[in-house]
Structures are given as structure tokens and as C-alpha cells.
Symmetry: C2
Subunit: 143 residues, 2 copies
């Protein structure tokens, strides 16, 4: 139990500090997102939150997701016109490798790429504010 409380602290804390109301729904949704390791979409968050407490509507999930995004605790991953997927935002930046056969999303970090990006932006006369890198790959068979 103490473990659980600790897990949601990042999201919860950022709200306590900003005077935003910590409702039952928001706690459950924060919990669901923190517990997820598979980048769920809004509907999936809704389903999981509902299993915990059925007083939660899809509309509230969308409103809460937007709230989380605005408070920089949640990151949206857009995948070509389909439902957007989400992940909790941590301090450690990372990018995504998407398995084109299974849809699995693998996270990775590569500092060399990050550095090159800054360099490229600067060369074009810009300071890099953010970036989005998605690799699409096929699993190499090792049999």
C-alpha cells in the first residue's frame, strides 16, 4: 500500500503544489497510467479505470489526460491518424522503436542522436525545444 502511494506521487505531487483538485477519478486515472507499461490509448485507460471504479466516464478520462499533458506529467504518442497513445512522462527522455508487425513500442535512449539533433537545429538557425523520433522496425530473427 505504501508502495502504491509512492508510485503515484509524481503526478499527485504536481497537483498538490498547483492547487488543482485531487478528485477520486483523477487518482484512479493517475494510478492506471502509472501502473501501465504498455502505452495505452484513451479508451484503454478508460477501460482499466472503470475496472477499478465504474464511476469514471470516457469524457473524464479525456479531460484528465489533457490536464496531465498540460502539467507535463503525461506524454502523447501520435501514430498516424489512429488513437493517440500515452505514457507517463519521466525526467529521463527517451524515444520509441515501434515493431511494425506487433505494434509493440520499445523505449530507448541514445545520447549521440540527441546531441546530433541539437547540432542540426543550430545549423539551421534554430534552438531545439523538443523533438520526436520514432523508429519503425522488424524484429531480426535469431534462430
Amino acid at each position: 500500500m505504501i508502495e502504491k502511494n509512492k508510485q503515484i506521487s509524481r503526478i499527485v505531487d504536481s497537483f498538490l503544489h498547483k492547487g488543482i483538485k485531487l478528485t477520486h477519478q483523477r487518482k484512479v486515472i493517475a494510478q492506471v497510467i502509472t501502473d501501465a507499461s504498455d502505452h495505452p490509448d484513451a479508451n484503454e485507460v478508460f477501460i482499466r479505470a472503470n475496472k477499478i471504479d465504474n464511476r469514471i466516464s470516457l469524457a473524464t478520462v479525456y479531460r484528465t489526460i489533457k490536464l496531465f499533458e498540460e502539467n507535463n506529467v503525461l506524454n502523447r504518442i501520435e501514430l498516424g491518424g489512429k488513437r493517440a497513445r500515452y505514457e507517463e512522462l519521466t525526467d529521463a527522455h527517451h524515444d520509441h522503436l515501434i515493431d511494425i508487425d506487433t505494434g509493440d513500442i520499445i523505449e530507448f535512449v541514445d545520447n549521440d542522436i540527441e546531441e546530433l539533433q541539437k547540432k542540426v537545429a543550430k545549423k539551421l538557425g534554430y534552438s531545439l525545444v523538443d523533438h520526436k523520433l520514432e523508429l519503425f522496425g522488424k524484429k531480426i530473427k535469431t534462430d
Copy 2:
């Protein structure tokens, strides 16, 4: 005139070779996309195509864009839940730097980044099929 015909040859050719009907609408839409240098969205393509010939509907623009995508002559750029934008696909691969103040899209190529991506994918057990890199930056003032 000869120049114009030459410009749309890439898109037109891939149709002649595949036995797909080359309708008036498709020619105009191909022309509009080839002439565009600003990554227009579907509605913008519709507006421009209509100026050239008002017998073109939005539905046809969408159908034609999809057709172009399937034939790998058009590339879709997704920008966070808003309308998708498009660009003619050339052999030379490039990525995008988006000006977060103006929405301008600047194209760039960086072979070092491309190479690193392949290396990263391989390290994770994948062969790189495709990738999407978008940098978001603010223009550095030089005054």
C-alpha cells in the same frame, strides 16, 4: 508547358505503369501537390485544386491522396491530432524541423543521424524499416 509536364512526371508515370486510370482530377491534384512547397493539408489541396478546376470534391482529394500514398509518391506528416499534411515523396529522404512559433516546416538531411538510427535499431534486435524524426525549435535571433 513542357516544363510543367516534366514536373508531374514522377506521379503520373507511376500510374501509367500500373494501369491506373489517369483522370482529370488526378492530374490536377498531382499538379497541385507537385507545385506545393509548403506541405499543405487535404483541405488546402482541395482549395488549390478547386481554383484550377472546380469539378473536384474534397472526397476525391482524400481518395487521391490515399492512392498516392499507397503508390509511394506522397508522404503524410502527422502533427499532433490536427489535420495531416502532405508532401511529394522524393528519393532523397529528409526529416523535418518545425518552427514552434510560425508552424513553418523546414526539411533537412543528416546522414549521421540516419546511420545512428540503424545502429540503435540493430542494438535492440530490429532492422530499421522506416523512421520519423521531427525537431521542434525556436528561431535564433540574429540582430
